[in-house]
Symmetry: C2
Subunit: 574 residues, 2 copies
């Protein structure tokens, strides 16, 4: 249909000159513009809202006074953290009333570069959630590890004009911005040239450094943890995304900044949510409920989940229940506890009572090349004893920072050994992009495992294979299983796989449902815990041990990194 | 300078790694994001704000605690109503702290079509105010009169992508929208395709008709006069521009709708301000003061004058005092009565104490073709008496609507005569675009003139020459003077010009200063009033008598129009 005909048809329905496709009667409409409700029918034509008032339609649904809000939007999320592919992620989100997301394919881009972005763009087609993207700005994060790809301005530019690309994604390299790294500035300039915002990521940045970061044209931040920090950013013109992920949870600390003055400049986001939390708690809907519980006025909490992100990205076709906008709607009973009873996407009922409807088909997973290219032919985790005292990475419970500690390993036949009694395991990072056979080795304190080994191809940001264990044999078995699965998580014991989760999409994502992934992951974690694993989620802990931008001591495939000094250090100190 | 270098220089200044060009010390910054003040210095580099904090600059101005707000923006104004050309309009506005406008060149486009728009675009270059445009959507307003131009989708489209074009201008033809006139829908679709908003203009539209107008994608309205009307529009997703022009003044009625909930969706605009009010009262600055006096919180009143219109048009580079944005700033003493003590445009001090600084040069007026093409060779205002009872247009004091009245004219030699004793004058509209010699004639009640005649080439919307007088000889003299001047206003008495104002630019605008125009106009009005003219501004009254879209009885060059029936009617009824 021609665009002009489509407009004419919508006007016709709005005037009541023609019947609408669908009319939602007896609705209590959440008006995010003035912060109150309006009792009226919602008329829908060709997937758009024609009008609010009294209408007749080919089909009618009596909402019996239930609330109708705009579909929620998540303005910053890494789909990869759900460990589900786009289709299954969409299935889970739409059931929660989230009808639009801006996803940052940072993880898959670190593995597969432009191919990963193309895969995500293609996967987004035909989903019951509108999946937009922000382009990963920092691939790779550092050159202290071997990544699967490097994305320069020239690599990103072909994507910048794509209709699904809303912004340049989180600019984590804030030193690159404020110290004017030409490649970083060129990326920012490119986004601005396309008229698209640049998402920020600048924990702790303040004062003149913050002013400099903003002067560059960075538009938002989702890393605030304190009120003073959030206020400094808001007042300097930054949009704030208040995050409630699986690890980082900032809503409780920041809910108090949300009022009608700040609401236009504030959004909720999930950033990283693991399958368990997506299934048990939800997504943006969970944040809205939590914010209301914490005292945010319901209308403001919903505005922050709808109109504010739509405005931020210039999406004029959504974010409110109003004529001309998409009929993306969430229906719920209790304004103080919005739980999606019905969800409409482009005027179609796609979910009911927390489940996507069975008549809604989601696209089959898109084909993608295997991402595992590890040379295991001479895999060897033995550590020659080059001294008496060695460094060990010490896990800080429930945090992604680590500490450095020192110990004297037992030495046998010239090799340094792990020591389960002292909770000192061996750890390694196996390069898996180039087939280089490169392996970084170290010792790890705090994992608590008394038997076996765990391995994972989810290892921020380069996603090499990280493995930690009580003995070399189980470590090898675990890594071999990860490679056999084309990526995934494994717990091996006594030389064979005890539990596993295949993540064949880039070594990051499953093609199973979020629910199935969540169950398998729970089983894996359970098996590790039975063998003594200390962290709440040992695989999550593992996935950050190879990230050399977070203090204090980390391991990459290239070796042990002192993050404070930003340089490699030897394993033995004396 | 390369854009990347410009960004790098701004970052450098923001970090304090290099000196700024200018630092405004001891500023009390109006923060429109959170609605409070911040005491800091404003650092400026290359015309942009580098940072807020403590800074050193090549030049320093100590503001001694004065307030610094973002430059004001007028999102809907017809420059032609100031009767000044773009340069002189800009000179007046910048002195008031208005640093950005979105002008709708509707009047000049009715006279000169695309050439008029090109003239305005060219005139906007190098001004101390950023002059953007909205494209006139309704040229001509009707085919009941002869206009100078017709602007179709094909005529508008070449301008739509211009960087100074922000939107499609006020869509006055709301029947065309809601009854799906294909040409009207095509114009709306075009603007949406370019990702630009469509300004509305829909007085009195309500219910399903309003929903239909919005379903088409109309974004704003500036015609609200009542709270209920404004709220209905806001809640349906419309942005509201609250207008305070010379004629239409809505701030008093609508100030109460402005609070922090609605502020992001509300703007102030002037629409039509005549030279006298621009000089005496001001522009958006006047509205801000009035709104505060009426109880709007100063921070909200300023947000509505700055960030809200910038956001509405997607102008991310202005609207707030924040790093990265243009250094368009207004400095004032009293937060409750902002009167521009200093105005900075792109970091340059351009105005002080209500006057543009003498060192600021404004561009010379751009060349434009003469617009007068009237055939006066057989000009004849005599009215053959084709009956006993004639219609007369009756002026309603201080309104643009008229009433129809009937009278029995004195008849001499077969011609119907005006009658000063009964306050019945003769009136005519002389076609002046095509040289057709077409003249519409009628009678007019309520002007009060006892001697002479007044004529004007400002006659909405087609701007033919409208003339009203006590006798044919003075009417001819007045029209001849208007043509001689290439357009303008004239009061003629005893067969010659008594007072005049030349408007050689399209017959609408002078090249003199707004101040000079205001004085000449005051003198003209004074002369008319001495001869009995009743309306506050008889030329303003005159300028709406040929507008056949405003009830009840109007006159065009084609004849007398019954606006209710939207058709021509004979002068004599019996």
């Amino acid at each position: 249909m021609k665009r002009t005909d489509r407009i004419a048809e919508l006007i016709e329905a709005a005037r009541g000159d023609a019947a609408s496709d669908l009319v939602l009667k007896n609705a209590r409409i959440v008006d995010v513009f003035t912060g109150r409700t309006m009792e009226a029918a919602v008329a829908i034509k060709n997937g758009h809202i024609a009008g609010l008032g009294e209408y007749e339609g080919a089909e009618t649904v009596d909402l019996q006074g239930k609330y109708v809000a705009p579909g929620f939007m998540d303005p910053h999320v890494h789909i990869e953290s759900s460990m589900a592919c786009v289709s299954e992620f969409a299935r889970t989100l739409v059931a929660r009333g989230v009808t639009t997301v801006a996803a940052d394919p940072h993880e898959i881009a670190n593995v597969l570069g432009a191919e990963g972005i193309r895969y995500m763009l293609k996967s987004a087609e035909g989903q019951p959630v509108d999946i937009f993207f922000t382009l990963p700005s920092c691939v790779p994060a550092t050159d202290l590890e071997t990544s699967g790809a490097k994305m320069t301005v020239a690599d990103l530019e072909p994507f910048m004009g794509h209709e699904r690309v809303l912004a340049l994604g989180e600019m984590m390299n804030f030193p690159g911005v404020i110290f004017r790294d030409p490649e970083v500035i060129a990326k920012v300039e490119m986004a601005r040239r396309f008229g698209k915002p640049v998402d920020g990521h600048a924990p702790g940045l303040s004062g003149q450094d913050l002013q400099a970061y903003l002067a560059a044209g960075i538009s938002s931040d989702h890393e605030c943890t304190e009120v003073s920090e959030a206020l400094e950013r808001l007042r300097a013109g930054m949009h704030i995304m208040i995050r409630e992920g699986t690890g980082a949870r900032n809503v409780e600390a920041l809910a108090s900044i949300v009022d009608w003055r700040t609401a236009p400049r504030v959004m909720w986001c999930t950033d990283d949510r693991h399958p368990h939390e997506l299934v048990e708690e939800g997504s943006i809907d969970h944040i809205v409920r939590k914010a209301i519980r914490l005292g945010v006025e319901p209308f403001a909490a919903i505005r922050v989940a709808t109109l504010s992100p739509a405005d931020y990205f210039g999406l004029k076709d959504r974010g409110a229940v109003a004529p001309g906008r998409l009929a993306d709607l969430v229906v719920f009973e209790d304004l103080r506890k919005p739980e999606a009873a019905m969800v409409f996407k482009r005027g179609r009922l796609v979910a009911e009572n927390g489940k996507m409807r069975p008549d809604i088909s989601i696209p089959s997973p898109v084909e993608i090349s295997p991402s595992m290219n590890a040379d295991l032919s001479s895999l060897d985790f033995s550590v020659p004893a080059e001294g008496k005292t060695a460094r060990a990475i010490k896990i800080v419970p429930d945090q992604i920072v680590t500490r450095q500690t020192f110990f004297e390993p037992d030495i046998r036949d010239g090799f340094a050994l792990p020591d389960v009694e002292r909770d000192i395991l061996k750890m390694a990072v196996v390069e898996r992009h180039m087939g280089s056979g490169k392996v970084g080795k170290a010792f790890l304190k705090g994992l608590g495992l008394r038997q076996g080994a765990i391995a994972s191809s989810v290892a921020h940001d380069s996603h090499n294979i990280v493995v930690a264990g009580t003995n070399d044999r189980d470590m090898v078995a675990a890594v071999e299983e990860v490679v056999r699965m084309g990526g995934g998580l494994c717990f091996a014991r006594e030389g064979r796989t005890a539990a596993k989760l295949a993540l064949p999409v880039a070594g990051l994502m499953s093609t199973e449902s979020v629910h199935a992934v969540s169950e398998k992951l729970d089983r894996l974690v359970g098996a590790c815990k039975e063998c003594g694993a200390a962290p709440k989620d040992p695989f999550m802990t593992l996935s950050f041990l190879a990230l050399p931008v977070i203090p204090e001591l980390k391991l990459t495939d290239k070796g042990l990194v002192d993050v404070g000094k930003f340089q490699f250090v030897p394993l033995f100190v004396s």
